[in-house]
Amino acid sequence: MLSALCKALVHKLDQGIWPYLAVLVHIGLGTALVYSSPRSNLAFLVLISALLSLYFFKTDHRFKLFAGALLALLIFPVIGVRNIFYLEVIFQISVFAALALGLNIVVGFAGLLDLGYVAFYAVGAYLWAFFGSQQYFVLPFAPGTQPSNLPFLLPGDAFYLFLFLAIIVAALTGILLGLPVLRLRGDYLAIVTLGFGEVIRVLANNLDKPLNFTNGPQGITPIQRPTMPEAVVDGFNGLFGPLIGHRANAADMYNLFFYLLALLVIMAIILVTRRLNDSKIGRAWIAIREDETAAIAMGIPLVRMKLAAFAVGASFAGVMGVLLAASRTFISPESFSFMQSIGVLSMVILGGSGSIPGVILGAAVVTILNLQVLQGFSLYLSELRQSEAIIPLINFAWKDLSTQLDPAKYQRLLFGLILILMMIFRPKGLIPAQRRQRRLASDDQTVGK
């Protein structure tokens, strides 16, 4: 009875104006919830999941574009500047989504397991960190001994140029990694890429002598940002001031700026990924993933295509690295650990290897779990500990609960569990990859399907 009702409901939501209404209601509800209770994680989850209903409900293309733009360009910025923590979450989701999309090319399309992907992210980040800071003038000094009042090597606006330079530098690094490992497959490839990732991190950690390139484990700071005209801050305050409730300052605007830039980069990445996917290059990658021997026998040059996959994947990470360095104004080798590579890989696998919406969802789920859900639980538990509350039936006082029990610390345990469960129940990911269904006019029987 209930299931019949559900089915009828779902059916109804598939036609007419109902899907449109559902999406709008979801967006409206989420916005209202977040707006009225700006500290609630739950409200934020409702809002951000509106993107999911936007993806799943059958609405027309223009509506999706419009509603997506409304969310990404209006609602998120306003909500985000109102409570900067949300903007941070959204920004991190975007950064990881871009990384996951890049890794998806290598792992999902070409089937080359890369466990050191974060190395390319580091290359981009250190590229701008070096040229966009005072590091050049610190070269002869040991870390911590440099004189103060050093000039910057390049103006902050060179950032834009370095976004493009990072594409080239990271792609070249990708090729550099690709060349020695081309003959390797599967596990062997994974181990070598893991090693490569560690080499880059260790280099960043130790290149503070003989010449101080990276400032070692202390990392490089301050890293410049592009200039933010006063007019933008004033303009934003003029437009949205009443909605936000407080005067946004330049720092808020920078956060917003980097979020929007990350969004732009993601759009570009999606466009590039989709176009490559629908061309002879994308098909060659898939062929290599499916069967290398058959692929090469069909005339696909393995070396060139694998290098292309490494280069394209790496370039996405490189751009995001520059963005990260500028937005944080500080980077250190710690941000590029092996766990980060594993994190991005788990986003790809969780979301659906080879699926663009899948890996974006994977990035969002993992990031939100990390930043919001687990920390929310931790906070909740510590509040309970401080209270006088008692668990009813077993008569256990919350304040006796061990402080070791901190969900945020069990992050990896939880990921491990989620990944295992996924492999058992949804091995192809949350949104499995689908090849384009072609409308083959001359192949009659397919049209009806």
């Binding site: 098909r283 058959a294 692929a295 090469i296 292309a308 072609r438 083959l440 001359s442 192949d443």
Partner: protein
């Protein structure tokens, strides 16, 4: 002039000589079979011809040029396409895209075209798709363009592999046991298909086959291998009565018995 020739070709794995000084010529426009007992080196010969193995000694000339030192993809580009003994399709990819992958060497799109999707790119893709559907129909697959290759029945997968090889527009098509596991009706169909491929597309066909009905029916020329060596060559009629062939297949006793019977 021969389309393909091998001169004193040798390929060994450790102590085992899989191909031993094989001299072999293949006329353009012919349908030729290679037969021989299991382990005779037939598939190794195919793998050497297509560059998956590099020969230890000897020459391979194709269409007037040497194939030595070339990678498999370069050889494919020169015009040799093949199918595999144990079907090797791109199984999680649709039928149409399997064929499109086969066209790889003929698509002119550059990486930049792939990014920009200019009208010329779209036209090429559209044309390729049309051609892929045609090829699909040509090998006898109807209405399964969007089906995943792994969902096709066994016979369909064999046909798809042939379509994928044809998509590369080869001069020479190597078929490794194309009729293995087929019932008599299917076998008859593929024999007709091979004839059509040769007659209509002018593609030379070299096939490895165990099914003697196929071999004797379709081949204009047969080459027999045993223990890595070519032991006989000739028309089906010649091969049928060749003493060394009968010995290789049935043992010495059988040859003696045949002599007995002839007396």
């Amino acid at each position: 002039m021969a389309l393909l020739e091998t001169i004193n070709l040798v390929k060994s794995f450790g102590g085992l000589t899989a191909i031993n000084r094989v001299n072999f010529e293949l006329e353009a426009g012919k349908i030729v079979s290679i037969i021989g007992p299991n382990g005779a080196g037939k598939t190794t010969l195919f793998n050497t011809l297509t560059g998956l193995y590099q020969p230890d000694q000897g020459q391979i000339n194709f269409n007037g040029r040497s194939l030595l030192g070339l990678r498999p993809d370069q050889i494919a580009k020169r015009g040799i396409a093949r199918t595999f003994q144990n079907i090797r399709l791109f199984s999680d990819v649709s039928v149409i895209e399997n064929i499109l992958i086969g066209m790889h060497v003929h698509l002119r799109q550059s990486p930049l075209d792939c990014l920009l999707h200019l009208p010329s790119f779209k036209k090429e893709e559209k044309d390729a798709e049309h051609k892929a559907v045609e090829l699909m129909h040509y090998v006898g697959l109807q209405g399964v363009g969007n089906e995943l290759a792994k969902n096709l029945p066994y016979g369909g997968q064999r046909r798809l592999e042939i379509a994928r090889a044809l998509a590369a527009e080869p001069l020479l098509l190597l078929l490794d046991e194309p009729a293995a596991g087929m019932n008599p009706q299917e076998t008859e169909d593929v024999i007709r298909l091979f004839r059509n491929i040769r007659d209509e597309k002018g593609i030379t066909i070299l096939l490895i086959e165990h099914d003697m009905r196929v071999v004797m029916n379709i081949s204009e020329h047969i080459c027999v291998m045993d223990y890595g060596e070519k032991i006989a060559e000739g028309t089906p009629a010649q091969i049928r009565t060749d003493a060394r062939v009968i010995e290789a297949y049935l043992g010495r006793g059988a040859v003696a018995a045949q002599h007995e019977a002839q007396r």
